[in-house]
């Protein structure tokens, strides 16, 4: 498992996670809550990147993920690392949320991503922060599959093989999606920076 996923678990205590999982399976709500604490940052961070930083949607998607996890406790084997399952479920929940948001935008209920934020606040921001903002926006504009690949590979720092496993595709496809996604973000950043200068 990637460093990002391991960092999500305080103390790196897999044994403790296994014990919490066993207790949660027996209906111990406190144990489930502690499990949630271990993975909530990872899930919420992925959801935020997948949903272009739209916090409310990311919170809703994360809620869906943890409720699904609670409903699926019985399927986890003893000592199984739940992080890959959580990543996969988060990506799927974000895809569903993205589709719903697109439908709402189509009927004029919600502004498009980026439009709501009113662009980047440049005056006080350092050069790096400005680039991060642009990249964040570019990431939000990527097609869903490319975004998922870039989020897991570059933002979450997973290996290509792990990303392929989570997304249920081949490493070659992941490489192609990552390559295309990075180039699109770069082109987007270049366009934006050129426009501003």
């Amino acid at each position: 498992m990637s460093m990002a996923a391991l960092e999500a678990i305080p103390d790196g205590d897999a044994e403790r996670s296994g014990e919490l999982m066993a207790r949660a399976k027996r209906g111990d709500a406190a144990a489930f809550e502690e499990l949630m604490r271990r993975y909530e940052r990872m899930v919420l961070r992925t959801a935020l990147r997948m949903l272009g930083g739209r916090r409310e949607e990311a919170e809703d998607a994360s809620q869906t993920v943890f409720l699904k996890m609670h409903g699926s406790l019985g399927r986890f084997r003893e000592g199984e690392d739940v992080a890959p399952w959580l990543y996969r479920t988060t990506v799927n929940a974000c895809r569903d949320a993205g589709r719903k948001a697109r439908r709402r935008r189509e009927v004029g209920l919600e502004p498009a991503a980026g439009a709501r934020d009113g662009g980047v606040g440049p005056e006080a921001a350092a050069e790096k922060e400005r680039l991060r903002e642009i990249v964040r926006e570019g990431l939000a504009r990527l097609p869903e599959k490319e975004r998922a690949a870039v989020v897991l590979r570059d933002v979450e720092g997973m290996e290509t093989r792990e990303v392929a496993g989570i997304l249920g595709t081949t490493e070659a496809t992941v490489r192609s999606q990552v390559r295309s996604g990075r180039r699109k973000i770069r082109e987007f950043a270049e366009r934006l920076l050129r426009k501003r200068t």
Binding site: E40, L44, L48, E59, L67, H70, V135, G157, V178, R182
Partner: protein
């Protein structure tokens, strides 16, 4: 054409995702092509920005909000499930009580209803009109008919349970229909 292909490769070279021969090809090309070197640097900068975004933690308040909502929903589901079990148990208990009550109820007395006056007078007239000779010839058959006639009268049935407050009456035909 060559540069376009090299830029495709550049997007993978920066993260070590390019195959060894592709990487070598790119390095040889980039040594003499400033535009492709620039492209690789730009992609590297994007990748660094993405990594920095990954290091940013979501707001603690968001985590707490999600956790609270999830735990509340789980508690709600449990309450609903417990209520469902309780309702099912109550329903099962009620059904069991009815069954027990029905099994323990026993018919105590069967009280023949008083025959209506109209029936008695019809019988009397019929008896008067029958010739004595016929009565002598077929006495048993007549008695059987008379018994059937008595049975055909409506009967009042009283059913008593162990509970003195519960008594059921009903009217039935004498034939048991």
């Amino acid at each position: 054409m060559k540069c376009e292909r090299m830029r495709e490769i550049a997007a993978l070279v920066v993260s070590g995702d390019a195959a060894a021969d592709q990487r070598r090809e790119f390095e040889e090309h980039a040594a003499g092509c400033a535009a492709c070197r620039e492209e690789a640097e730009a992609i590297r900068a994007v990748r660094e920005a993405l990594e920095e975004i990954g290091a940013e933690e979501p707001e603690a308040v968001s985590c707490a909000t999600v956790r609270a909502r999830v735990m509340e929903e789980i508690a709600g589901r449990r309450r609903r499930a417990a209520w469902g079990w309780w309702a099912a148990a109550m329903a099962a208990g009620a059904c069991a009580a009815v069954v027990v009550w029905m099994v323990t109820v026993r018919p105590a007395k069967v009280v023949p209803a008083a025959r209506p006056a109209v029936a008695r007078s019809v019988e009397a007239k019929a008896a008067q009109s029958v010739a004595p000779a016929m009565l002598r010839e077929r006495p048993r058959r007549t008695r059987a008919r008379r018994a059937r006639a008595v049975q055909a009268q409506p009967m009042l049935v009283k059913l008593e349970s162990e509970d003195p407050n519960v008594v059921i009456y009903w009217i039935t035909s004498g034939t048991g229909d």
